[in-house]
Symmetry: C2
Subunit: 457 residues, 2 copies
Amino acid sequence: MLSALAATLATAVGPDHVVTGDDPSVADLCHDEALGVPAGKPAHVVWPADRDEVAAVVRAARAHGVSVTARGAGTGLSGAATPDDGAVLVAFARMDRILEIDPVDAVAVVQPGVTLADLDAAAGEHGLTYPVHPGELSASVGGTVATNAGGMRAVRYGVTRAHVLGLEAVLADGSVARTGGRLVKVSSSYDLTQLLVGSEGTLALVTEVTVRLHPQLPVRRTVLAPFSSAEAVTTAVGRVLATGLAPSVCEYLDGPTMRAVCAAADLTLGLPDDLLDADHLLVELAGRRAERVDEDAEELAELLGAAGAADVFDLPAGSARRLVEAREKAFWAVKAAGADEIVDLVVPRSAMAAFLARARAAGDAHGARVLGCGHAGDGNVHLAVFQPDPDALAATLHDVFAAGIALGGAISGEHGVGRAKARHLAELGDPGALDVVRRVRAALDPDGVLNPGCALR
Amino acid sequence: MLSALAATLATAVGPDHVVTGDDPSVADLCHDEALGVPAGKPAHVVWPADRDEVAAVVRAARAHGVSVTARGAGTGLSGAATPDDGAVLVAFARMDRILEIDPVDAVAVVQPGVTLADLDAAAGEHGLTYPVHPGELSASVGGTVATNAGGMRAVRYGVTRAHVLGLEAVLADGSVARTGGRLVKVSSSYDLTQLLVGSEGTLALVTEVTVRLHPQLPVRRTVLAPFSSAEAVTTAVGRVLATGLAPSVCEYLDGPTMRAVCAAADLTLGLPDDLLDADHLLVELAGRRAERVDEDAEELAELLGAAGAADVFDLPAGSARRLVEAREKAFWAVKAAGADEIVDLVVPRSAMAAFLARARAAGDAHGARVLGCGHAGDGNVHLAVFQPDPDALAATLHDVFAAGIALGGAISGEHGVGRAKARHLAELGDPGALDVVRRVRAALDPDGVLNPGCALR
């Protein structure tokens, strides 16, 4: 016999679109890719078809005192899509339609379950692109809105937040709010679109997303420059960005990460061994006209040489594409190599090398190996931490987060807080700001229905 | 004898930095430039020197049940800096220091009373620019943060929101929150920076602002293209932006506005009379290299010709600068011409002409003359409405706002809601979103201390 909640959920989404959490078919939906967050055991998994069904699900869960976690593609890295035990997990796989690509206003309107790959491909049919490229293009738009996902192109285009123009969302009481619109600027009371982006399903469940698209840039040139230290890379990055060259990729990789990335991609760059072990800066330029991008690449190469690069490699298009793709998949390389945790702390751009040094020192102090790469143009450092002992790992992470905060950084640049870092944020965040977060959250979700373990503990 | 509140304020900011609101010296501080919002009569005006003094002022006002309005340079256009009668008006004229220009991370840290002109000049010493250029460069940074100010450069660089990386702010209870930082991306719980930008002093008083700066673009070319209709301009704008040419100015002016702007600037463009009365598109391109900007200007001119421009005028640098500056000051031209109200409704870019037509029809129905110009690349239409009769003016405005909302627009693109449009927003905004605004506001300012008449009524 169905429980009262199960019966209500079956009415809400139809009996074919709800299962209990112990159904073996849903085991893979009960976690995301966060290394340190175990899978949850939801009481029910539901697949709503539209906004009204989402609202009915939220109302039902609230009435039964059960929490609600939204799940897109499950590619998140901080556990924000991992449900509590006993929760209702709302899977958006059926809400995966591209509602409109509007080439005149250069916007797309999509349901949250659409993947980034599908959105970018649909935009591409109109000569446009959706340039948010986190590591996984199988990520759902809804998930990237919830986490304010970034990626390698953010140095030129900005993170998800810079692209979301409007939202439709279901609140904790089942009511619906529509924010923003097909509008590139608004100053009409609080920007609720921006409040919801990055809120990790704790304020509302997003049911429709309006994003801006950009003209495609058909020409690319990619340069790889090995340096003798992360400090030298950091200095070079500041000079590159000061030129106004506006690179579309500006990445740091330490030697071990470069080796791991190349191995994972089965990619041979032809660098001598000593240079492969250097600290690398990878810069891609993109533009409308080949002769300009070539000219810019010359200017860039000269600048990098003057900044102390041991050499400057103009990568052939095929190698460049594979290296960029492999860097985007670096998470999988370090996961395969046995990393115990990853961190994507963000610091002022100029503090990247200092932060890396402190993070490695923290690793040394606790017997952890720390590999680094990152979106150097954004100061968004990605660390892989290898330390199987849970206590030593926790101590390392604490010291790493504290070091980043001390340098003016924040817990996460693009992965989000989720369950993985909620405790660290509570400990290290600005107390006044955390108080505001708690008050806003209590105002919109007084019963703590929406993803209660996430964003802040 | 001083009232208890006056005594507390004198203790908070020093006796030399507080006066009563009936002091003749402060008459000009009790309003901004909104045409339809009368000056307020505050009980006290205070000039705090730092964050802690701001906090003490807010606590004192709250304890006495008196509201608080923040005031920067008073250049706002929606009455958000106009105090309630009996309020405490917090003037930020003493908090006008540029705390740091950091050319390496390309950020500035400033107090809220710094003017845009001073900030841009200080950035310029490092080859950088702060590209938020609303009509008045005498505007304060704090005021532009409160209203999310835009301006002509927003089509390329984005509005204020795109530039604010971090804030320090005093909340209604006198507590202090620090948000964001010297960080170009963050995903660490709710983005309170973005929540506060555009909140018009209703959630907090901003006491420090961290903004991003951009490399200067030394080369400019400006093209003026008269078209036979606003529809033709709208179509041309879509084509210009689809190229990826990324203009730094993309403005629409109707014939009467062009005449008023040229007259106000004492500027003769040499256009024949019939072309001066056309619907104009003004496009500026900016870049790093003259030959590229020249080449782009050729491409632009060809595109505009193909899109139906009656002619395409390549403006000499001096005329171009004066025309852009005069367009930036269009508010003063229409004010001098006797406009009774201005509107800066924003619609989807492609709907600009349709909105203009409906707005003019609304004017005709109520005997009002409606002139139009606007940031065409952003769909942000600026109307001047001439109708001295208050009831007919109110009816016109209602119909204009309703027409814009019906086209998918929002009340304001960059001027804000303030006191001027709070009633219209309450009437026409999305009910679910307005409910969220009210709940967030009540959570952060339960006693309604901060600018209670603004943003929403």
